[in-house]
Symmetry: C2
Subunit: 197 residues, 2 copies
Amino acid sequence: MTKNKIRPGPYLFPSLTVLIGANVNGKANFNAIGWVSGLEFGPPLISISSNHQHHNNVGIKENQTFSVNIPTEEMVEITDYCGIKSGRKEDKSEIFDVFYGELKTAPMIKEAAINLECKVIHVVNTSEIANAPNGHDIFIGEVVQAYSDEKYLTRGSPDVDKIKPFVLSQSGGKSKYYKVGEELGTAWSIGSNYKKE
Amino acid sequence: MTKNKIRPGPYLFPSLTVLIGANVNGKANFNAIGWVSGLEFGPPLISISSNHQHHNNVGIKENQTFSVNIPTEEMVEITDYCGIKSGRKEDKSEIFDVFYGELKTAPMIKEAAINLECKVIHVVNTSEIANAPNGHDIFIGEVVQAYSDEKYLTRGSPDVDKIKPFVLSQSGGKSKYYKVGEELGTAWSIGSNYKKE
């Protein structure tokens, strides 16, 4: 294989597509995001990277809370809609059946398969650490409570085959959504078949 | 749908599976990780969350560099092997065809479809921000150079249909690898079909 230099970029796809919920000026708002990551098991921590321009950031900073909602593949259109329309111009507070949990200010989506109710515990601003002109807030949240429906779980844990989430990726110069595909093997297991030469 | 509380956890799957490369005590080492995220486009920033116990962390801290290598689905066994075997006990420096770029200390995998050569610009320790007893280092890296082969690109950009990466997910209480599945639609586009009621 020949290795050529290509334009440096954050080419980490596919990535899970989620809906971030925040209360902005007292009203629920939702935005679609592909830059999310697990960080820690105990306590459970996750991160989202959200552009400074997003309406959500105002509310997340004010309340120090947000939610991560995992949409099913049937929700792909409405999820994309939330990514296209800014909450500054479009009221998205009533497009979902919204509920609140113990933090009181992190709106969650009943139609979504999994909801993570998060308290902000740390923020990194890419404009500060890297002089990004069009910066992002990296919100690190502790998952204080999680919610789901029995139909998405196996022995109490979320099951991807039941949830049918979707991922964002890039192909032919376009960003596209994809289903999760065929199984390839069990993690921390199939590697034992590998034999060093 | 009924919403029940489930055990709080960082349920963000599927997630892309990558191989992180670092020079530890002058020798290339590789570890499999599922907690990765894009953070910023300009400059291109990404994050990885890597357990304090990982051999890689020693080298990343020493050199302030690391690489992210995106394996193809044919590499699923050897990728899992890198996740099972610790570099403390197993020499993984010769299982891949390794090359170095301009940072000199971030070993990259020739067989991988995409390589991101990263310089550490910020570190967050989950033990410090959240008292995590079994903590993780969140390394935020700037992608100073990226590498690929023509066969994985469309008009110079990485193409998921050509790369065939794989994702890590959870089903039936087990962690499993999956292919990327069927296309669902174009992002920032299909949402315009949604009509508010």
